[in-house]
Amino acid sequence: MLLAVLSGFIFALLLVPFGKVLKGKWSILLSILPLALFIFFLQKIPQVIDGAILERNQWVPQLGINLDFNLDGLSLIFALMITGVGTMVFIYTSYYLKGHVYLDRFFGFLCLFMGAMLGLVLSENLITLFLFWELTSISSFFLIGFNNEDPASRKSALIALSVTGLGGLCLLAAGLVIHGITDSFSIVDMLQSSTMMQDHSFFMAVVCLIFGAAFTKSAQFPFHFWLPGAMKAPTPVSTYLHSATMVKAGIYLLFRLSPAFSGSELWHYSLWCVGGATMVYAAFQTLFRDDLKSILAYSTVSALGILVFLIGLGTEEAMLAGLVFLLVHALYKATLFLMTGIIDHAAHTRNVSELSGLRKVMLPVAVAGFLAALSNAGIPPSFGFIGKDLIYEASLHTGVFPLISTVALVSTNVMLLFAGFLAGVRPFIGPLPTKYKDLQAGSPRLWVPTLILATLCLVIGLAPGLISNSLIAPALVALGIQDYALDLKLWHGFNTVLALSATTIGLGLGLFFLLKPSLNREEQMLKWEKYSPLAFFEGMGSLTFRFSTLWTGMVQNGYLRNYILVILLFLMALIGYGMWGNFHPKIDFTQLLDLTFYETGIMAIMLGAIVFTVFTGSRLTAVAAMGVVGYSLCLLFVFYSAPDLAMTQFAIDTLTVILFVLVLYRLPKYLPFSDSRVRVRDGIVALGFGGMITLLALGVLSDPMVSEVSEYYSANAYKLAKGKNVVNVILVDFRGMDTLVEITVLVIAALGVFGLMKLRLKSRERIR
């Protein structure tokens, strides 16, 4: 399974060198990858029915982070959806973006996404789950912004990334908190310690973080706004990521963790509220849209809302309905998106109000659209009918406000039916405008995948046995629902559910014939955009930006002196606070009597040289005075038994002065930059700091000296290292490693100097 997950990444890598070759007419060959993976997961079905397959690969065992994969019924449904829809999308893309300059790049991102998504649904470890989660966000970012010359496209990509990335961070935090509770990153462990989780004081935090992750990824209100924006992506991406798979990652997470959280009121009621609000709000939005992809985007958000709502209901029936609806939605929504792409490709418009009669020129597409619309509407004998039946049944039998739930679901479904017909039927009926006379459906590579998905909507509806025992039953087991009497069928007899379905269909069709699409209404609706969550989010973004600009301007003002001044004042305050009260230096002034003439003289020279360095107006004098300071220091080293230091200081001082003279020659003269007030201020700070250092030194000196390390080195220099100059022995033997690093640093400095000097200035760098 590891290979299956990694194959997407490997393919994406291989496309870097070999992409140029595959970019041409051979690009369809790439769909072998998802197809092979699809077959791989198909042949796992019998095994999964017997029980989940767990595969363990060590990665960072010390931290409990492992590439463990768990293929159970739930993962299997998702894996088949990812690879199955993936195959269709890959074939479709090979024609849809034929001849695009960056086709190889596009396929690379698709492969990357597929690998990440498979990893996400198969991961058995919360941290790897998080990693794959973020990888899907990142590949989605690149795919949404694929037309990177378009600023709107870039903006949408950024918004999507920041919203889903935020959710990803929530997921990481949730993983860490869960690890704190269960002491394991394993999801299986977590599900088994459900009661421990729910009794823990951090339970609420975990639930909220998980919500943060799932709601952003699955575009729940009020985070839904990134998904309609993501429609800037090429249609295959919208099909694959933003309807069939990636946005379902949040749903997957909720499904996966529901056994651990079910029973908690927080969990059920939050999901019920958020899912319900999302499905109604988004479905309502579709009534006002004219752009095909926009309609589909909002209906996707609405469908995701239904799924969250069902998980919130949390009964066995609701879970079953959720699983079935997941498949139903993936099939018909992918079909509708692919169909939209074909129309857009041929007619260069996606506005429903401008499209009609296309059945005469692209019959296969019309058939596909019609089938998908049927399934979306839940009209028998489509697969959608089964799904809708189950949903109504679940809501009628729920303990959570059954009446409100059912009414909300019916109204959502009515509006969704309208949306589906608008997208799947409206462009094909009515008279064909003359300007579309010469349109064609295009290559079979476009409409065959579309038709395959559409046919599946019908076939599964007619023969639900295809999936009931192979897919749905194991998935229910994975959700902790054992021995459920599963019976998927079209006809349940005359009952309330059928009446509800009939009502939905009737109302929906009525709406469809009454309400004509118009560009005008969409524009009306857009006026309200400034009160939408999107506007709020963007406002927050620009507010943060303004605040950070202000803050940076205040703190990071670019003046080196100010930084140093702040650092110094802070240090002074800190050290002064530490010394306050417990500072009692014992200063023995009698030692001054021992001073020799040489010492006093050197000190005097040094002091004079320092004053000269600071106050002279000529640079050359300053450098010379600085050299004198160094030589005086060198003499001090001689007096106080440090011959090695004296020699080194002498040599270095000489070289530094030479260096300065070489360079200074070309630099400008000093200018009286600062005014006297600033100089007085700096002088006070400098003297204050210097005085503090003096006091500090005196304080330290009045404490008893500890010199164990020095004594050790002195005692063992000859015994262990056969040397008599202890300083040199420390350098080359005891602390040889430090010296090795030090000479390496020196080499780096020399290389830096060489590089800085030898590099030619580019014309761009020459200012003024």
């Binding site: 002196r561 038994s641 100059n725 800085l756």
Partner: protein, 117 residues
């Protein structure tokens, strides 16, 4: 003697800091060197100072006598001196380069990473 050395350390620190706070690039580097000298002197002073007893084992005995200068601060300072040469030369070259590009050694005019700002 320690008192005088401690005072000298303070003076070196004060001079170094005062120079660093100036706007001229050259003064900045001079200040860095003075500050470096001050730090070296501080370490040397705190390691304990001894007159006329270098930490070199005389011929004959295998260990140092009772009173000797501490070798460890000396080893530290020796490396510090050499490293600071590397730092200084790099800083000097950086000044030169900056002067070439920006045509000023006024630090206040180098307060942004943007060109022509």
């Amino acid at each position: 003697m320690e008192i005088l050395l401690a005072l000298m350390t303070g003076v070196l620190y004060a001079a170094g800091i005062y120079m660093i706070l100036r706007r001229s690039l050259v003064k900045l580097i001079l200040g860095l060197i003075l500050l470096g000298n001050g730090v070296n002197l501080l370490i040397f002073l705190l390691g304990g100072i001894t007159k006329g007893k270098p930490p070199v084992i005389p011929d004959g005995p295998a260990v140092l006598g009772e009173v000797f200068a501490a070798p460890l601060p000396q080893a530290l300072i020796l490396t510090a001196i050499v490293i600071s040469f590397g730092l200084q030369s790099f800083a000097i070259v950086l000044i030169k380069r900056a002067y070439k590009v920006v045509k000023t050694d006024d630090l206040d005019e180098m307060n942004t990473t943007d060109e022509n700002a």
